[in-house]
Structures are given as C-alpha cells and as structure tokens.
Symmetry: C2
Subunit: 305 residues, 2 copies
C-alpha cells in the first residue's frame, strides 16, 4: 500500500520533471551515513537524463568538499551541480555587495575556502580566545580590526563569547553588512538522544547582540540561492522538483520559486510530522505544505533498477 | 535648567516614596567603575530613612558577591536588600518547581553558589569541552546525564557549541523545565567600541535549538522577581520607585507592578534614547515609557549633601 503510493509519486515526478533539486542532510544522508537506497535513486535519475542539482543550506563545506562528500557516500557529483551556502555567501559578497574590505566570519573552513576562491579577505575562522569571558578588561582588550565591511554568520562549532562580542561590535556600524548563510534550527543527525544546534541558533544570538536582523540570507528559502543556480543552469520551474526534509527551508524555497515540492521524513520532518501536515488545513501552513510526501528517498530504490 | 529639572524630579520622589529599587549595571556603575555621584545619592537616601533595595538582572553573582561588589564601589548593602537572578532562579527551582533532580546550567559561579546554598545539585558551570565541534561522532559522545529536571540559562562567558547541544538535548524532554534568568540583549559597559552580549543572546540560541520558549523568567520584567522581594520586604507600590537604565526590563517591571519609574541615561538607554521617548507618543511604547527621566543618577548628588 505504502509502496503503491511511493510508486505513484515517483511516476508523476519522473513524467513531469526534467530537473531534480536535492537537499543533502536528512535527505541523502544522516551524519556520515547515506540513507539506504538514496544513492540508487539519485544515480538512476542521472542515468535517465534528468538534471540533478544538490542544494544545501549547510555552510561547513566548500563546493569542492561537498563534491568529495557526495562522491564518498555514493552520489558522484561535479562542482557546477553543487550549491552550498559557503559558496552563495561568497558570491553575494563578491558580485552583489562588491565589498573591498574584510569580512568577519562566524563559520568554519568551508566558508574560508570559498572566500579565498574569490579573493575576499577574511578573519575569525577557527577557535577564538575563549579566555575572554565576563571580565570587562578582557572584553575591552578584545581586538577589533579596521576595514571590516561585512559580518558573515554560518555554522560554527567554535561559537564563543568573544565571537559574539566581535560580531556585535562590527555590526554597530550601520554600513557593515550582516550576511547570514541560513536559519536552520537543528542539524538532522538521525540520532535519538542528541540535538545538534543549527546555524539559526548562531545567527539569532548575533541578531540579539547586534540589535539587527541579517541584511541577506544566502540559503533556502531565500531568493539568492535560486538566482545563483539559475545563473549557471537552465531551470524551468514547471519541470523542476525540490526534494527536502525541512518544510521551513526546502518546501518554502520550492513554493516561492514555483517548483514542485517533495518532503521526505528522514531529517527534520519525521513521518509523524508528515502525517500531521496532511491532516492540517491551517492556511498559515500552506506555504510549508509539500505537493508530495515520501517517508524516505530510499523508498524509490525498488523502481530504479 | 537641567539642574532645575533634576531637582524637581528629586523633590517629587523624595516626597512621595519610602522605597527606592535600584537596578545596578548602567545605573550605579558601568563595568568596574561607579557612576560619579551615584553612591552619594544612594547613601543619602538610606540615611534619610528610605528603604533601598538593589534589583539586578545580572546572574553572574550570588547575593553575597553582589553585596561585596556594591560595598567596594561605595554602596554598602546587606544580603537581604540585594536581589539578583542567580538567587531568584535558585529560589524558583527550590520553592516553586520543587525539583528533586539535577539542574543543567548555562551560567557561571554566581548561579552555582545560589544553587549550592539551597542544596540543589547542578552540572555545567565552567568551560565545557570545546573540542566538540561539528564532528558527528564527537557530538554523539557528548555526555548527557540522567535525572536532569531543569535547564537554567543565565549569562555564560563560556557559552559553547557543546553547551548548546546539552541544553537542547535535555529540553527534548517536555517535562524538563526551561528556566531563564533574564532577556537583556547587552551588558552596558560605558565603552564606545565593544558590544557585550547579554544573557538574552544566550537564552535565544537555546530557544532555537530546543524549539521552546522558557517556562519562566526569573528577572525583570517578570513577576517572580517582585514576588521574591515582597516575601521579605514591606513594599507599598504607590510609595515605591524603580530606578533603571533599561526600558524593556526596568521600566516595564515597574509599570507592571504599579511602581513609579525613573529612567537614567547611563546604561542601555542613552540621553538620545530619552529624548526620543519623550517625543514619541506611540501607544505600543507606553509600557516602556518612564514616569521620570534623569541623564545620570549622579545629577542628584548636589541635592544630597
């Protein structure tokens, strides 16, 4: 019965779409482990001549590193078909904001690589001095550099008090641009005990300290990500489906850009969430309600041999 | 002229109030430095027979340590007249929530001392393992203890990724109580370059990770702080003034509890803020609009000899 439903969705999307956009965390893998069957599905679509593009809000890896992770988990990819927020943030700063000065980064090496690729000077990546705690003299000694034109906040496993001081202090200048990669609350890990904080938690604390909201979001559901993909790919929204695990990012992104949307239950949204959505007719949730649902992308594997 | 206005406010409050509640950071001192003249004013009020109570949202110190700081900066005080959120949080957990298990704390030694004073077992204070970054295996090894009945979030200069993982993971249990000390965005330091993140930034990131709002706020403008003061002090709201530097905490606290309110411009609110308030008739701001304003508490020193 479930199988028949999955088959119906599969057939409809294969018939109506020439392009498949895949979110990664919680769709293709959980942590270091590929979702069983997902690779067979993605590779079948490619073999069938579908355009497959990976679109992740994850800011921890450059395009090159994402290609390597995709490949190692069974999803061979190329740089040009791989979009992450480390890349889109760097593109925004270079092509749209056209900054000449430095960028203060709360984030990690993935962002650093993409900024380096575009020749943008940056500071802040890696652990900061964690001895700066509530001692006021320490705080006043916390070094603030000149010529910082933007603060870019992404996922940072080294988030600390001194990083919040610096981000807040740079953003005191209203001309300093506040760029955020994405607003995901949690990273889906497929683990029952631990909650893993997402970039949204880091961005929000900077917002509170700075008393400002980001000037631009470089991930889904923001416009910038789609514009970035469109610059190098021929996308007909009518023939494109966004496959994701997060209603607030993936599904809203798909809807806002006129794409079909498919929600899977292996990440942020669980099978329970999916059931609840289907039973809920709250109009406020309409923007987050997918056209199609599927417990796991791997459920299609049987149709892909 | 300014002096005449200050004198008028002083005379009115001296005549109408028998109790003065003073916020501390940004009212009595900035960082390690007393506001010039503030001690003369506070000590004059005490000598004149006024009941003087210190009411701070700062969670970094126990009552005893606050008494020591007050005294060292020229404001001799006693434990019973000194209320901070480390104390009110511990009181809430003991007397109202009546917890028997452990409390996971994002906060520092001040909170630890007050929990110890009431015999409440706690964990989390001090730097956590900062090597837990985005490595999924590290995250899964992040130790979660049994029997944690509450998560208490206050100011923590050692805020880190592993602390956010733990807070979020404990709060996954809907029976685990989420207690926050206060929601202040910044600590007023009287320094022009550095922004100092307040507890609000730390609480908000836990909210995002946990997907929950705090069950209780233990500082101003919440009810709990006033109830705590009333339990040990005879307070007639009509004859009491709340003196603070923060409209959203101090002034709202005063208004909600029927007190007179006086805003000073030496902390979160600046003299510019005060001017703007007086010119603004937005009804949404009414709750934050003080009855009286004064550039600095020290402006009264001349009337206190």
């Amino acid at each position: 019965m479930a199988n028949a439903k999955a088959k119906k969705v599969f057939n409809e999307l294969i018939a109506s779409c020439d392009t498949f956009l895949f979110d990664c965390d919680g769709v293709l893998w959980q942590g270091y482990n590929a979702i069983p069957g997902a690779a067979a599905v993605v590779n079948f679509l490619k073999k069938s001549g579908k355009q497959v593009i990976f679109v992740t809000n994850n800011s921890t890896k450059s395009r090159d590193k994402y290609v390597a992770k995709l490949s190692s988990l069974g999803f061979p990819s190329e740089r040009k078909n791989t979009f992450g927020t480390a890349y889109t943030s760097a593109k925004y700063l270079k092509d749209i904001a056209k900054i000449n000065g430095k960028v203060y980064v709360i984030g990690n090496e993935g962002i650093g690589e993409e900024l380096d690729n575009l020749g943008i000077e940056h500071l802040g990546i890696g652990p900061d001095d964690t001895s700066t705690s509530q001692d006021y003299d320490d705080i006043k000694r916390c070094e603030l550099q000149e010529n910082v034109e933007a603060v870019l906040v992404g996922f940072d496993g080294h988030i600390s008090f001194s990083k919040l001081i610096k981000a807040g202090s740079y953003l005191r200048d209203p001309n300093c641009i506040f760029v955020a990669t994405n607003d995901d609350s949690r990273v889906p890990l497929g683990d029952s005990d631990h909650i893993v904080p997402g970039t949204g938690a880091m961005v929000k604390s900077v917002c509170i300290v700075a008393g400002r909201e980001p000037d631009v979001w470089c991930g889904k559901p923001g416009k910038l990500m789609f514009e970035c993909i469109q610059k190098s790919h021929d996308i007909d929204p009518d023939q494109t489906v966004m496959v994701g695990d997060n209603m607030k990012t993936d599904i809203v992104f798909g809807k806002q850009n006129g794409l079909k949307t498919l929600l899977v239950g292996t990440g942020v949204a669980t099978e329970e969430t999916i059931k609840a959505i289907l039973q809920n007719s709250d109009p406020a949730l309409k923007e987050q309600t997918p056209d199609y649902v599927l417990p796991s992308l791997g459920d299609w594997a049987d149709f892909c041999s």
